[in-house]
Symmetry: C2
Subunit: 585 residues, 2 copies
Amino acid sequence: MRWSRALIPTMKETPSEAEAKSHVLLLRAGMIRKLGSGTYSYLPLGQRVLNKIVAVVREEMDRAGALEILMPALWPAEVMAESGRLDVFGEDLFRFKDRHGREGVLAPTHEEVVTALVRDNVSSYRQLPLNLYQIQTKFRDEVRPRFGPLRTREFIMKDAYSFHLDQESLEETYEGMYRAYCRIFDRCGLDYVVVEAESGAMGGGRSQEFMVPSAIGDDLYVQCAGCGYAANLARAEVAAPPPARLKGDPELKVVDTPGATTIERVSKLLGVKPEQMIKTLIYRADGRPVAALVRGDHELNESKLARALRAEGVELADTPTIESVTSAPVGFAGPVRLEGVEIIADHAVMGIENGVTGANQADAHMIGVVPGRDFRADRIEDIRTAVDGDPCPKCRKATKLSHGIEVGHVFQLGTKYSKALGATCLDGDGRPRPYVMGCYGIGVNRIAAAVVERFADESGIVWPPAIAPYEVVVIPLDMSEQRIVMAAETAYTTLLDAGMDVILDDRSERPGVKFHDADLIGFPLRVVVGKGFLKTGQLELQLRRDASKVLLGHAELAEKVQAVLAELRAPIGQATDTGASQTGP
Amino acid sequence: MRWSRALIPTMKETPSEAEAKSHVLLLRAGMIRKLGSGTYSYLPLGQRVLNKIVAVVREEMDRAGALEILMPALWPAEVMAESGRLDVFGEDLFRFKDRHGREGVLAPTHEEVVTALVRDNVSSYRQLPLNLYQIQTKFRDEVRPRFGPLRTREFIMKDAYSFHLDQESLEETYEGMYRAYCRIFDRCGLDYVVVEAESGAMGGGRSQEFMVPSAIGDDLYVQCAGCGYAANLARAEVAAPPPARLKGDPELKVVDTPGATTIERVSKLLGVKPEQMIKTLIYRADGRPVAALVRGDHELNESKLARALRAEGVELADTPTIESVTSAPVGFAGPVRLEGVEIIADHAVMGIENGVTGANQADAHMIGVVPGRDFRADRIEDIRTAVDGDPCPKCRKATKLSHGIEVGHVFQLGTKYSKALGATCLDGDGRPRPYVMGCYGIGVNRIAAAVVERFADESGIVWPPAIAPYEVVVIPLDMSEQRIVMAAETAYTTLLDAGMDVILDDRSERPGVKFHDADLIGFPLRVVVGKGFLKTGQLELQLRRDASKVLLGHAELAEKVQAVLAELRAPIGQATDTGASQTGP
């Protein structure tokens, strides 16, 4: 490609609309443009990156034995009503009425359609396992699309769904997909952390997310440098502390706390630290009320609560329930003398020496509360959200809390959808059994953005060769000097003939502009033909990643460029010092 | 691929939902499944066909110098309001409100966005010509989706848009795209007719459609076997007849025709043939009223009328206008003594010897009308829609009216969108000029359906090798005979190693089932390993297209299969006797 024929509208200024580094750079490098809220056009260089990512994803899916299909984005709303997900997605779903007044939705993901497809077209276990994938555009009405292509309302997703007769077969495919995901991210040059994730209720098994460490990532995960344990925040376990031996014997007293219904206000009013307080939350778990206790400085984790209670769903109780359970207005619940309701306490609550909690009466709290002495919990479990520095559940070393960009997710769905849609398969004995399912997602646009976010420097993007818009840029520094132009043309043709992906910067621009744009866009390699060439006949091969340079003659060009590209393709996960580890399933 | 691992749910019965042959066969061959009205899932074999078509299209677009981009499907409604196309598309547009109550549309085509993209990112004529394409999913709320994947509400389209400083440059790119389209359809094995099409108002120039002849095609076109002239119905010219020399001199009389407001009723009432009647239609052309005359058995062609009047738009006048122009209720207009309005007559009207027309008074018509004697037309032009047998405008031979499936369209847009969106470019003198634009569309799914429609036989589909789901199927006829299984496995591996696209039918099915499915799906070639192999050690190579067979040894297999495939890839346009010709621009 010749630069003059490509559409590469680089920008000098930092666009005001962009916050994230990747967003700024993709705009400045002329790779994307915004259309509306959370929707982007990909200009030629951006589209080349997407196409390369898609090619890697497709190759690895095929290699993993998945079959490519394509399902519609436009669904009759009934399809989603059947699984109950119209409500689950709620406002995230784009909904419309067609010309005949029939309700439709834009699919945010394809569990229902693929399950029905398999239900209607597969009958015997002999056809299993079956793993179907598509690379297709998804639509989600995000509350707040942001960071450019990282969180949008329209995006390309590779979603795969596998179907099995039993858990064992699912595990096998799941592991294969896990390895395929690792290869995909390795080939795209990304480093990542695989974290345990929440699998939800209804027969779901293992679930893992692929996180790219990034300060602007929307997802939080906990990681242990000691043993490699990593989990997202919904899932991260906290090691149970050793049983507390409380020393003091404070006096239990009721004190007035008029209008103080929050941890913050009570703590201020009474001059106690939040970590001394026992937060008492009334929940409904599958309908029945439960009192859940966490330390005032901790947050209750609903996923953990549900798991601990083996409940399909938990939700905060409404005001009448709270008032009936505690005999007090909302904001004054406490475990002391709380009766007729199961009490579940987080481990950390049991270590409070001299606690404060609601008195189950209006405008009053109790002080001098000692867990065990003043109240008993029916169950003591890990029900709080992890915080930075919490002990690792595996090795008890301190864990670290980090932000990450989720680029992939593998998920053992179990029988949730097959049961809801009546999708069964005849087993070896001719008996119908609901499919055991897995699902596997990758965000294509997000990989591109994550790569930029992760590997850019102050001059611009640093693309890994496998997904760079072009692998090599050839830069003649003086277009008015015929010998330089000719040498650059020759180098360009040589590299093209060697099967490389090359762009020739044939613009009549100053060297500074050319270097600046090449750095900004981030081609992994550049071949510079400048004044030096006129003297020595040598070309300069420059590496974007570390700006290292080497001089070489034309004859060795193709071979050398091939060699350097091969070197650059070594998986980043092992090659860099980002500190991110990879954990296996 | 092994058949047992692929998902190929062939069906024995003809599904009741399907009318068109292509629809029936794609369903029966297990390539597509319906989700909702006008939306289809593509199963693995169907998706392979789509991927192959996409690859051909992408390769030819790149070769033609077009740059691939990707624009969103989800648009803020304002984008379309700006160009006035919210109204043009009307109910064909899917419209929705997002969670913030903002109006959005699903893009049916991308003129607005691409024009704004170029307006905002290109400034100099030095960057022209610029040709941008995408392969992307479009959404249109068709009134009546039908014939399976031929007319759907969601489909993959390759749309390209070119930008130029002047018409000359547009012509050059247009011609290049025309040639690229011919290569695409040739490679996909389609025969086609290129027809002149309507380009519409506002600076539009040439426009051509690529039609695949088919009785179920929604589009009608006229074709001359003599000189090759071909045009769609909106555009097809009718050669002007020689000036009429009217012989009789009938008496002009007013007769009562109470309540007879249609050609049919008047013709019945008065016992005259429709071709004797002069249909008088009151139109508004860019606002001003016009009386347009066509013969009673002809249809007025609005595109032609607009072109003849050099009007941007024409529409039937409303009742008050008609009543004011004719001084009569609707249904009794006639050209005799019609004053204060321009009269434009179709050529054929002037050849009526003894005509009947409205009397411009309620419940009355005139008989004995002689054009020229009783009224004068201000203009005599070709303003009717062509009919089968009309004389060719080039060579006057009788033309033929045929149905076709439109698979592609190249279109000189002119400055319609660039003017509407203020998209200008600085010319060599630094003066801003609106871009002269072209646009070019191809329906990817429709190519697949058209190929099936065109080349299926009573046994099933006959895929051209370039877009067949697999080029070759290897069929072991007896899975219980180890030597047959081994030979089939060897043949399969040999062909895979030679880079061919092969599927091995490893099912334990009867030979009849395997042959039936292979025919139904339509793999171009099959390699059969049967009883004969046990005796002679020879494989049977069978051609799907003509069922011809040849025996061969294993050693010659790869070479022979390559040779046959190469032969099959010869463009169908020249190779078959479909009678369809290809016309150049």
